[in-house]
Symmetry: C2
Subunit: 397 residues, 2 copies
């Protein structure tokens, strides 16, 4: 009896790793997962800050009906705080400058005229205008960024502002992608008629780059001794192995047997899904290396990477993986006992993203993946998914 | 009279660069833009390929009512093509193997029993089943991938399969992010009360990493001579400068003047938008360096990067930049003459993504960006955008 996709996913998510933390230089922390709370090291902004170029003055003069102010000096951004000594005068001020003592209002150049060192006000003035008040965004000591978020450019700006030269982030796992199969030759080789170039392990490496993971890769022949030696080494130095091929019922599909001999405990083998049914999943008893052993068909490996490895990775990082949804453009019947993953193209309609099935020629047909924007997940034993139904969608970016 | 956001964007998109092409190693080509058509170097698949582990036989026997076949040998993936000599017998076959001569049908192990070297068929068989026919996905010579697409993991698999060790892609521009302003100190420094750490140029560097661009960065004081020397150098070695600060009306906002003196032709200055109004845009008359000079407020720089630079980049790569849309959760009035860009959070609802405005404390408030998933673009002179209206959305990832 095969387990369901939901059961398999739950098993995978119960087998996450504590990957630990590491410090990386600020610019390299982008797209990583923050592992510390970030507090404001001072008020935001740290001083009463002019937000326009013009003049700074004390509003009392305006309140008393004065509209002409002598310019007594000038304050630029990056200068220490100055003071307006004569409160009937004003100071020129630049955006970003510290508001001088005895001033409380900034008037932009566009609203004054200047002649002979005197500014004449041409427009109504509000007390306190054009000032970004110290601490008005937030106060010193406030937590600005919480541990567990993905760092984007917007967060880099905050980290820079509070002086984080190095940032504590969740470690990325050490991953090795393993290709098995005697029919595989390298990308640079010219294959004989019965051979093909290896593509799955390189596809996985490319996908992992999007998660900031630089994976190593290895190709192993369908030979039990060679498999055992190479896998033992790989288990010793990696957190995760992503294998493709060698888990079906073929005579040379030694992988399940070899993995168990090496101390990798099988958690499950085979899932009621299409494609990707012969998926084998386990964890090394001592070294805790997690082994995702995907079937060798390109579409199977591709789908299983997205529906199992990616949620595993995000859960290991204590991060929620956001599920997207799309609306089906056409009816679909799935009376089988298998969860179906089907490539789709999507278009933006008034009621959200709408997904159209991509014609597919079985799980060996990698060309169907190039036409697709992602794939939908269709639950088993469902007579009809009506057009318009909202279903889970995995975008393949 | 200021130009509108639409006019500014059209100007920017008329000022794209021909960045040229370059070859990069396969794995590094992911997330780059393909610059050549990719043809199938042979049929996909290149031979009639077994898709199950089991036995291969000639259907004629089945048609004549035979259900017991002697096993005459074995065919594994990666072996040259074999032949079934006695058509009343069968050959064991593994997934991925070449279908032997004189066979036309594969029966999986699950549907046979094997005893004493003889396979007994337990289930109905269809002629031609479990074979991925040569050329059935596509024929040799067919264009599989078209120039001008973004390379994802799915495309890497194709490029590997056809033997592309190096891939021709659009070159990424050489970009320098330039911070100006005397009030700025480095991230590692402890700022005096009137100073702040620089964040805009680092934020831009981080955002550019997402486009596979490794930008350099430079900080220049508000000094006309220093600006001129540093910018002349930067113009000489870069395709694009992204500046922040120094384009308002302040006394030390030398940038427009210095840029024109250096031979950078102004295309426009100031756009009827909020934030980001004092945006200055130009191109060097001879060297064709494109200069995006953003206002120094963090939110202004951030928004202008996304609404001008990113579409410029994709257009330079001859790629369409897909516009996303969201539905407003609340009414919004914009009777002003300014296009408004407002940070929002989004949630998936039944009728698509719904956007809620993030509270914001002016264009200096970078903290509002951390709370947001992106920002919406709201056209000017519109009495009310009703809740539920679909509006353009920029996701900030």
């Amino acid at each position: 009896m095969m387990i369901t996709y939901q059961e398999a996913l739950e098993s995978v998510l119960r087998t996450t790793l504590d990957l630990g933390l590491e410090k990386v230089p600020l610019v390299e922390s982008v797209h990583r997962i923050l592992a510390e709370d970030i507090k404001a090291d001072r008020d935001f902004p740290p001083f009463n800050r002019a937000t326009k170029d013009g003049i700074a003055l004390n509003y009392e003069g305006i309140a008393q009906g004065v509209s002409i102010f002598k310019i007594d000096g000038e304050v630029s951004a990056g200068s220490p705080r100055q003071a307006l000594v004569n409160t009937n005068a004003c100071l020129e001020i630049m955006t970003g400058a510290v508001l001088p003592e005895n001033t409380d209002t900034v008037i932009m150049y566009e609203h004054i005229t200047v002649a002979d060192g005197v500014a004449s006000i041409q427009k109504e003035v509000k007390r306190g205008q054009n000032i970004h008040l110290q601490g008005s965004d937030l106060e010193e000591g406030t937590v600005i960024l919480k541990s567990g978020i993905k760092i984007r450019a917007a967060e880099i700006a905050i980290l820079a502002t509070v002086g984080k030269v190095n940032v504590l982030v969740y470690r990325v796992p050490k991953v090795c992608t393993v290709a098995t199969g005697n029919e595989l030759v390298s990308v640079a080789a010219t294959p004989a008629p019965h051979q093909i170039r290896m593509s799955n392990s390189i596809m996985l490496q490319a996908a992992l780059k999007g998660e900031q993971i630089s994976a190593t890769t290895v190709h192993i022949a369908d030979d039990k001794v060679a498999l055992k030696i190479a896998l033992q080494t790989a288990i010793g130095v990696n957190d995760v192995l992503l294998l493709s091929g060698g888990v079906s019922r073929g005579k040379y599909d030694y992988l399940p047997e070899v993995l168990e001999e090496l101390g990798v405990q099988k958690i499950f083998h085979k899932v009621a899904q299409q494609p990707g049914k012969p998926f084998w999943f386990g964890i090394h008893r001592n070294q805790k290396t997690v082994v995702f052993s995907f079937p060798g068909n390109p579409v199977s490996t591709f789908v299983n990477y997205y529906v199992y490895f990616i949620p595993w990775l995000y859960t290991s990082w204590c991060l929620e993986f956001p599920q997207k949804y799309v609306r089906l453009a056409n009816d679909y019947k799935n009376p089988t006992s298998l969860t179906k993953f089907i490539p789709v193209t999507t278009v933006q309609e008034l009621d959200g993203l709408v997904a159209t099935f991509v014609n597919q020629n079985g799980s060996g047909d990698m060309v169907s993946l190039n036409k697709a924007h992602g794939f939908v997940c269709l639950a088993p034993e469902k007579e009809t998914f009506k057009a318009g139904t909202l279903v889970p969608f995995t975008e393949t970016v």
